[in-house]
Symmetry: C2
Subunit: 95 residues, 2 copies
Amino acid sequence: QEKVENKIPLVNESLKNFLSTKDGRLVASLVAEFLRFFNLDFTLAVFQPESNTLNGLDGRENLARDLGITEAEGTVGGPLLLEVVKICQQKKISG
Amino acid sequence: QEKVENKIPLVNESLKNFLSTKDGRLVASLVAEFLRFFNLDFTLAVFQPESNTLNGLDGRENLARDLGITEAEGTVGGPLLLEVVKICQQKKISG
């Protein structure tokens, strides 16, 4: 029988630390929402176990609320990340 | 021998259209940069063929320039998406 207790655990420390922050979870949730939006099911099926986020990432509704994005006809046709990038670009132009 | 010419091509039309826009490529490039930043190699190995972005997505340097983000000590420690989300949040608070 194989001794598993001596194996080095496959923990991604930098990602684990990132996901322990509010903004970190927000970013990872936006990535997952992007993958779901475009039905990238194979990528999502690898992303969830590799990032250890099988449960716990926020869905689109909660994300939009946290980011202060009001969903409208113009936003529902794209992933939420598109809105985030657009707001970021407006900010850079205006300020 | 299998007839491949009669198979329905696995083309993700909505993603293909999205990637044909400037902002769409920017969003997909930010997702890829996030995966690379945290060494999510397995996810990236599935994402690239599934999204058909094996070549052509922008790297971090070009992305930062396109988004008007100046890299500094505080930004290089995280994925570029974190900066984008932070800018988005500043915008919502200030404006």
